[in-house]
């Protein structure tokens, strides 16, 4: 399917523009250009949407509206910001190291950009599905981002920037350990580092999602979430850019388009991290009922048997639906991250490192040990749901001796879904019962001892 798309578009373009079939080099160039456009487009769209959304969420948490002038609900605010940042003066401090100053934003942005390569948006819509080290690649390339931030702080020739850079380096590098260890638990349960395979493995319905594989996987999810907050320099671990302490930390001296690179890097990184959590723990592109996992092999086999436009369209539609689900899950994680930013206060750097080395690291070690023992003692179901076995049939599990696994997964899924559901209901109840409360703070005339102001 992907080959149909990828072969047709460059060929059609070349024929329309130049009137002849493309040669080897031109096909290669068009291929690169297609990927570059789609890639850059997706990353920029994600970052712009997240910037707008962050300001809206911040506004509503702080009892104000947020951007609402540019576009219908302020949706074009990011565009306006982008235009403003492009038009700004390109300011480089006189004593700053010019080359490194210019280099640092690209070093910070490129890893977040490159990590999108491995994200499994849909079974056929992954940029590089053969990347056998998918998860590890994301971890590896995100550790190059530390260098960009350090350079930005150093090259600014500004003491406060250097402080921000140092704190950030300590924080990001130390939190990579619990990050990696939490990822290992999901990998252990799956047996593969390939993110597309991980997605296929979770296609049997909500009880096959890796977060419900064992209680330790749930703990690993929480550990990973906290560690990913720190690794993204995201509140409450946003000391590198602590706005109330260091002006802007390591990117104080950056203005205009260079500053927007750091911003893009942050939001792209948030999406990557949310994407990993969605892919590793929350079922990737699958819906809770296993429908996508059920229909995908059927439609794909139909396409492979008779390749044509008629059989390609259903597969394409399924892929787009799967990509939508994946993006929704990643956006939910980002949403939770935004809540935390505007709710929690900021700890000191020694408290941050204490939390990493003395709390999160032992916790993730214990969780890793527990998950490994669980996997040894509770035999699991081998194979891909709907392809090798039917996940909703009890006999299939019992034949493989995996009854205990099925029972535990269903139990954990029920507990997890009911916890989540009760949270949602609680918020809903608060929202409904809050409507009856009098707005004392905004309506002084209703207060008993209020007096009209005399001018």
């Amino acid at each position: 399917m992907a080959n149909v798309l990828a072969d047709i578009i460059p060929t059609v373009f070349q024929e329309i523009v130049f009137g002849r079939a493309p040669g080897a080099l031109m096909t290669a160039i068009y291929g690169f250009a297609l990927i570059a456009t789609v890639f850059t487009g997706i990353v920029s769209l994600v970052a712009m949407f997240c910037i707008w959304w962050e300001r809206k969420v911040a506004g509503h948490i702080q009892c104000r509206i947020g951007p609402n002038r540019v576009g219908p609900i302020g949706i074009l605010q990011s565009l306006a910001d982008g235009v403003k940042l492009i038009l700004k003066e390109d300011l480089i401090p006189k004593d700053a190291d010019h080359l490194l100053f210019r280099l640092a934003p690209y070093l910070a942005f490129t890893p977040a950009f490159a990590a999108f390569l491995a994200l499994p948006f849909a079974p056929d819509l992954t940029f590089e599905p053969r990347l056998n080290v998918g998860v590890f690649w994301i971890l590896a390339i995100l550790s190059v981002e530390v260098m960009g931030v350090i350079l930005a702080g150093w090259a600014s020739n500004n003491k406060w920037s250097v402080y921000g850079a140092m704190r950030e380096a300590c924080q990001m590098v130390s939190y990579e350990i619990p990050l990696g260890m939490s990822i290992i638990i999901g990998i252990m349960a799956a047996g593969t580092l390939n993110l597309v395979q991980l997605g296929h493995l979770q296609g049997g319905g909500i009880q096959t999602w890796l977060i419900f594989r064992s209680p330790f996987a749930l703990a690993a999810f929480v550990c990973y979430f906290i560690a990913s907050l720190a690794s993204n320099k995201r509140a409450p671990f946003d000391l590198p850019e602590s706005e109330s302490e260091l002006v802007a930390g390591y990117h104080t001296e950056y203005s205009g388009l260079r500053f927007s690179f750091f911003f893009f890097a942050e939001y792209a990184g948030m999406f990557v991290v949310g994407g990993i959590q969605a892919a590793l723990f929350l079922g990737g592109w699958n819906d809770p009922f296993g429908l996508i996992g059920y229909f995908y092999p059927v439609l794909k086999d139909a396409y492979v048997a008779h390749p044509s436009m008629a059989t390609a369209i259903p597969v394409l539609l399924l892929n787009f639906a799967a990509a939508g689900i994946f993006v929704l899950k990643a956006m939910t994680i980002i949403f939770v991250q935004m809540w935390l930013r505007w709710t929690l206060p900021r700890p000191r750097i020694d408290q941050v490192l204490y939390a990493c080395v003395k709390v999160l690291l032992p916790a993730s070690c214990v969780v890793l040990l527990g998950a490994a023992l669980w996997q040894l003692l509770v035999p699991e179901m081998p194979g891909i749901p709907w392809v090798n076995y039917k996940p909703w049939r009890f006999e299939d599990w019992a034949n493989q001796g995996a009854t205990a696994a099925l029972v535990s997964q269903v139990l954990l899924a029920v507990i997890g879904v009911s916890l989540f559901g009760s949270l949602i209901l609680w918020i809903f109840w608060a929202f409904i019962s809050g409507r009856n409360l009098k707005q004392r703070l905004t309506d002084p005339a209703e207060m008993p001892d209020a007096e009209p102001a005399t001018v």
Partner: protein, 185 residues
Amino acid sequence: MDLNAIISGSPQQTSLVTTGLFYLFAIMAGGSALGVVASRNIVRTAVCLLFTLLGVGGLYFLLDAEFLAAVQLVVYAGGTLILIVFGVMLTNKSAFVKFEAKLIEVIIAMTMAIILFGALVVGILNTKFASQAMTQGTDGYPILKLGQALLGDYLVPFELASVLLLVVMIGAAYLAKGRRERSHT
């Protein structure tokens, strides 16, 4: 969107892309190594080293050694280099210190470098290198075999290496802590 499938309808196209990428990564690695040696600013040296390591990582990817490339990025570019940069930044007396080498040091270093270069060239020209990546028996998933080898045939060296790293970590923590305890303020 399979990159190779997009680009390669034929083996010639695949090797065109691979050759181009090889030259890109090789120039990045070699040119940055030159920059490491030739630069007079310590921090720029470290940045050139970063690009050298990234170039070598890219070459590992071209050799189908994906795990090794990712490990190179994590350990070298994301760990060792950060340490080097920390050391450089925290031990600088002034902002942008420059190297000043004496003439006799330059002469000795050049002699040793030329001898080493000659030896390397002779060695490389006389070696029979494999024409493509050695991935037989891995069924396209070499990490499985790597993991089985590390925890199977090579378990003892693996454990010894991790014990060594643990000893290093404990020793460093002890040394750093000892100095603080002695000064009672």
